[in-house]
Symmetry: C2
Subunit: 452 residues, 2 copies
């Protein structure tokens, strides 16, 4: 199928271009030509940006957004929040997960994310036994992606143990646990489950250094065979302390010790690092998978983005717990957390540059790399994923060029999106997902049944 789109203005690797004609063949950009009118082209007003990849999501957690905001009896932390999360997922069925994931994905698309890397660890039935269809939960994710149109990188998670030691899994973790054989089958069946999701791909995700051994890590690398590998690392100070106590190494040191960390890797959070660890990640080409809203919500701490960017490190953003979903929210929180720490402004841009543009460009490149798909730019060979900003939005009025991106990210709570296309297909019109009503209604019914 061929489409020709005529963008009033679009951001390409060569910069902003007016009256840009783009030919799309089967969802992929086949030709990009400025100012050469083509018959039958569909005109798209406003400024169009490449759609942003969301490099880290636990979709089902959208259903518990806000439910962890009651302070515990004692001190509240990531670890007490995790207990709330374990209780929430206790009863979820594949149908529930599909309904919640579809809601999360529709919100992602409305918020400017056109692709998601789903870090998928809720594998088994409520009693911890595998479903008859081992990939039943992966299939739920695939269906949600297909229904909403978001681009998918499915990352089945290898979760072997409850903590360093190894500690046995807790009751709350029973639905995550796989031995290696079962995990290999799960990956194989998950790959089949996404076969009919347009342009979807998969990778593997050893959960964290506390949940897998170095041998598991090697096993996961083999399984990935060149595809993306994601891992949670150094999110919490306790994890750093536990790692040091376990093997005398900090988590990132331990990871580099046991794996060949390279551009296929995405290190999620990577919050608590020494300068040397940060430099090592930057030099490896691995992506730092930052989740600024969730990291603020969970009280994780502040990634030193200013330092990492100066070293040429790749980073992207993820909505992680999905407590709040949107490109502007994540990029803004990333910059603001740097500012609050450094008591300076303009942390994530070079001198003289637009902060919004620098954030957006960097997160596109890092996000595309982490998702392992040909996305993240309006250029030949990339997927036709476009986010068009509403030129009439009051935060953007009389702005042009980079200033549109600055104002879209900093002067509007959410990205002022008018239209979103994924693989050329329009899935958000006038700021609303095309299946919003259906998806929302099912989500609401599932939530009422779960929470009542």
């Amino acid at each position: 199928m061929t489409q020709t789109l005529h963008f009033a203005e679009a951001l390409t690797p060569e910069g902003f271009q007016r009256d840009l004609f783009v030919r799309v063949e089967d969802g992929v950009i086949a030709e990009v030509g400025a100012g050469r009118p083509q018959a039958g082209a569909e005109r798209i007003a406003g400024l169009t940006l490449p759609g942003m990849p969301n490099l880290h999501s636990h979709a089902f957690q959208r259903g518990m957004a806000g439910l962890g905001e009651r302070r515990g009896a004692g001190d509240d932390s990531f670890w007490t929040w995790r207990e709330v999360m374990y209780r929430f997922l206790d009863r979820l069925t594949p149908e529930d997960v599909q309904a919640i994931a579809a809601q999360a994905y529709a919100e992602m698309l409305e918020g400017g994310f056109t692709a998601v890397a789903e870090f998928h660890y809720l594998h088994h039935d409520v009693d911890g036994r595998p479903y008859g269809d081992l990939a039943a939960m992966a299939r739920a994710i695939a269906e949600a992606a297909k229904e909403t149109g978001v681009g998918l990188t499915l990352l089945p998670v290898l979760y072997r143990q409850g903590g360093f030691g190894p500690q046995p899994p807790t009751q709350g973790q029973r639905r995550f646990i796989c031995d290696r054989d079962r995990f290999a089958r799960l990956v194989e069946e998950s790959a089949r489950a996404i076969a009919d999701v347009p342009d979807a791909t998969w990778g593997v995700a050893p959960h964290s250094l506390r949940a897998v051994t170095p041998e598991d890590l090697a096993f996961a690398e083999d399984l990935a065979a060149g595809r993306p590998i994601h891992i949670h690392v150094a999110e919490q100070e306790k994890e750093v302390a536990d790692s040091l106590a376990h093997n005398g190494l900090r988590p990132v040191e331990a990871l580099f010790e046991s794996a060949s960390v390279n551009a296929r890797w995405c290190l999620i959070h990577a919050t608590h690092l020494t300068h040397a660890e940060r430099d090592r990640i930057a030099a490896s080409g691995a992506v730092a998978g930052l989740c600024p809203v969730t990291e603020a919500n969970l009280g994780d701490g502040i990634f030193d983005g200013a330092h990492f960017r100066e070293r040429g490190g790749f980073f992207g953003v993820g909505s992680d717990s999905n407590v709040e979903i949107g490109v502007a929210q994540e990029l803004r929180m990333l910059e603001y957390s740097q500012r609050l720490r450094d008591r300076r402004r303009g942390r994530m841009a070079d001198a003289g540059a637009s902060v919004g543009r620098a954030l957006y460009d960097n997160a596109l490149a890092g996000g595309a790399r982490a998702c392992g798909r040909s996305i993240g730019a309006i250029a030949v060979g990339r997927r036709a994923d476009f986010v068009t900003l509403d030129a009439n939005h009051l935060a953007l009025v009389a702005r042009s060029g980079d200033a549109v991106i600055d104002s879209a990210l900093f002067a509007s709570s959410a990205l002022p999106v008018s239209e979103v296309r994924v693989g050329g297909r329009c899935v958000v019109k006038n700021g609303r997902h095309i299946a919003k009503e259906t998806v929302a209604k099912r989500f609401a019914a599932v939530m009422r049944a779960l929470l009542d």
Copy 2:
């Protein structure tokens, strides 16, 4: 004029009440009675909260939202941002200010703020000379409040000098400067300018310790005569250093030295404090006027809210630079900045309590005190300012009680508002300000003329 409202559910000082009937006389709550049906009552679905006061705004800055996000040639800071702001206000006319303020106030109402304390320092004509109508700019603010319906506390600002020393005002400050006589007249005429804005009041605002002398401060206290007094204090580390160099005292120490700080005072920002200074503010009954979004945007630093709240200090929130406007955005950023610093969750609530509810209740009380008006609660004698949340919003589905507030603040980018009433008058319906189109159109025209 008498109205009777029937709230499906409302938050009163006694807690959540279902089927609450409220009688409003001339914009003021005259009777609150649960479950006694009254003829002709207008039913309001969803959960209704007391409208939130916005205790600090520079309305005109809404027009430059996002324009300060280009990193300077050197290090970027509050002080470089201030230069951008001075250039932006260089040519503004009273008509421009009215148009921009109306836009800001309409957005405040949509975001859950029903009252604003306008810290108003743009007094004079473009050449620095007073307008023929000395209160021309105050009148522009009053008109914007009247047009949008937001409750107003107008705070004419006394700005005497460019910095400690004293330093003479810079060119960028020429439109702010008043001597004491002119300021007294300006206050008098400003009071007249707001006479026909429903329930509006006024106070005075010595700009900061760098912009006024101790004698000016005493003069301002006299003028206020029991009304609110607001002052910027300890926003920036440089201000602390300059104050110490000037008189050997930190800003808050200097303020307590020269003024009788009490519950009439609102100390804006108060970011850089010693524990002793924070304790002293808490004990005085003065309100800490926090502006979390702006303080993040400007790289000011993090107020120690967790400590201040434990000491029983009053605080409220303000949208300040109006780079982003909304109750949820401010309260969330307040809590998140504490979490990022402390690496713990639930900072602004007692053990076992809802964080959202604690933030909301505290900011209501502090905001009402700072605005010097009878607002901030659904109770007899208070202004009938109500914010109703959209019960069908997906972030709120199947939540009840405090969990609704938690999810409204943390799981939705903006407060999911369906309806807003100020003094009983409905000014936001279905989440949109009733004059949105008119206000927006004029704002856009003004912005195009200013930025083109």
